[in-house]
Amino acid sequence: MHKIKLGIIGMGRMGITHFSIINSHPEVEIIAVADTSKMTLDLLKKYVSGIQVYKDYKELIENAKPDAIIVCTPPNLHYEVCKLAYEKSIHVFAEKPFTADVQQAEDLMKLFESKGLVNQVGYVNRFNDVFVTVKKYVESGLIGVIIRFKSEMFSCTVSKKEETESWRSFRENGGGAVYEIAAHAIDLVDFIIGPPDDIVGTSMNQIYSKHVEDIVSSTFIYKNGCSGTLYVNWCDTSYRKPSNKLELFGSKGKILADQHGIKIFMNEDDLSETKYKKGWNTVYITDIFTPVPFYVRGNEFTRQLYHFANTILGQEKGNICTFKDGFYAQNIMHQLFIDAQKNAIIE
């Protein structure tokens, strides 16, 4: 097979990062980018030899004929970009949140599955060494049946009143703490526990944002008796960078995890291969990391894009974070908005 001819649509912060990472893959050739900013396109054209630049993604797809695209537009545009890619049989990696509308997410999932195209959503924690290890432990029954959990995420993304409005200022476009930050905490629940059967007690607050929520909390209910809480705040200036925290209480022990490592409390000695002792055990990121071929901002970012490319090449299964997973997270976020509305915290 020839090198994968790749296009990147949307050269904002994530598009710029993804370009750098995937450009290091020996079997990928970035042939074109699309963005609405003329300045961005001028710079790329001037400094990146051989790159085609487009103001309109449709022209990129028509003229450059990529095998695959990475979509980093505002989320409300993902649907039309992905739909056109589907029609042209192009593999797609879409940034999170998958869409800004649950029906569109479901449609895209069905379309891409029907054609057998590679489809992936950018829930990057699924490639993080810590959370991959937690999932492995939960599935192996290390702490027994999960009875309660907490999934939290904090960042200092918004720390003052907005001066100017952008796509991020409106929920319809995919802006707000739920779509931009909580999406990760929600997907982690999905990844490790599975999607909930009911969502109750959701509340959202605005602190600085005019139109979108800054804080969300909620309770996830499962038919088997498990339940858990979600608390996400993107105005928390005590955090230097975005941090996920996950706490799982099971019938045989407890797991506390964040990007730095895992603390495991065992009710009894574990007799399986982990050999964890009764009481507290600590797993540091340095115990479980796996290096990547090229590092830009965390192993997980490289691993997720290499997974996409390697799946197209037939070297990986492409089952770690599909459009289906994107749809599940979208559905939960949709339920959160409905429940919050019902509780009338945000009009």
Binding site: C156, T157, V158, E162, T164, Y284, P291, R297
Partner: protein, 297 residues
């Protein structure tokens, strides 16, 4: 190429950065909320023979630089190794506004002293947008401004920028950065990276020499892409007249015992180590353990 200091005192411990534990980072950040406590640790480091400081241009660096400037007679022997920029400052601005409006803000709103008039005459962002090199030089000037009056030996570009640009494979950006740092600041250009073997091979390919390369180097291969063996090969074959290599993350955030860590480091063809510590015991121990071989520079 001027020889760099064998031991450089880093700053992560002061600013709530610990890759291993959020809790530990929080404790330290509380302790060093009082800048006086930072100066105390620096004085301990200097008392133990350290004469070089790496300091990131974060929002507290200005105050720290001011302290050392106003006490210059007391600290006249110090060599400074600034690392620029402070990435999180830009990350949040870019999130909120987009890349160019954020740069625009940095260039035009917060730095009247930089000569906004001159920039307006040049045509402001509209022109700069077409010339990434000119833009880069202006951003460098803004970041380096706070170190003015200190004895700057190396100006490092942070890994988030270096590795991002490395992925784009653009020679010009690296060439122009290195040239600018040498000419304008009479300092050595430094590049921090998590992809040292690849960066070094690209610099060789591009003919860019006399550069200091700082990267994670530890015996468990933590934050060393693509793998530890590639690092060992690159280090072994390195000519220190062309590239001086500096090791950071030598303890892999505490995963390796200091004695083991520096046995490994001392066995390699390295020119310098940057480390951070906040207790006299750890500073003393680390200084005594670092024994880099004499290189013919």
């Amino acid at each position: 190429m001027e020889k760099i200091d064998k031991i450089v005192f880093g700053d992560n411990q002061f600013f709530g950065i610990n890759h291993m534990s959020q809790e530990k980072a929080q404790q330290l950040s509380e302790k060093f909320f009082q800048t006086e406590n930072i100066y105390k640790v620096y004085d301990i480091a200097f008392k133990n023979g350290i004469e070089a400081v790496m300091l990131n241009s974060n929002d507290r660096a200005k105050e720290i630089c001011e302290h050392f400037r106003s006490n210059k007679s007391k600290y006249s022997h110090l060599a400074w190794y600034p690392s620029i920029p402070y990435p999180h400052k830009y990350a949040n601005m870019v999130n909120e506004k987009g890349i160019f409006p954020a740069i625009n803000d940095v260039l035009f709103s917060n730095n009247s002293a930089l000569g906004v008039l001159g920039m307006v005459a040049k045509g402001g962002m509209a022109v700069l947008g077409k010339d990434a090199i000119e833009l880069m030089k202006m951003l460098v000037d803004i970041e380096v401004k706070i170190y003015k009056g200190l004895d700057i030996k190396v100006i490092f570009l942070q890994n988030i920028i270096v590795d991002l640009m490395l992925g784009y494979d653009i020679k010009e950006v690296f060439y122009e950065y290195c040239t600018y740092i040498r000419k304008k600041y009479n300092a050595l250009p430094g590049l921090i990276t998590q992809n040292m073997p690849y960066l070094k091979s690209k610099l060789e390919e591009w003919g860019i020499e006399e550069v200091v390369i700082c990267s994670s180097i530890n015996k468990i291969g933590y934050l060393m892409s693509p793998d530890i063996q590639s690092y060992l090969d690159a280090i072994k074959n390195n000519d220190p007249n062309k590239y001086q290599l500096m090791a950071m993350s030598t303890l892999a955030s505490g995963a390796i015992r200091a004695t083991d860590a520096y046995d490994f480091i001392n066995s390699l063809n390295l020119q310098s180590v940057v480390f951070g510590a906040s207790s006299e015991k750890n500073i003393k121990e680390t200084v005594s353990l670092i024994k880099l071989g004499e290189q013919n520079l």
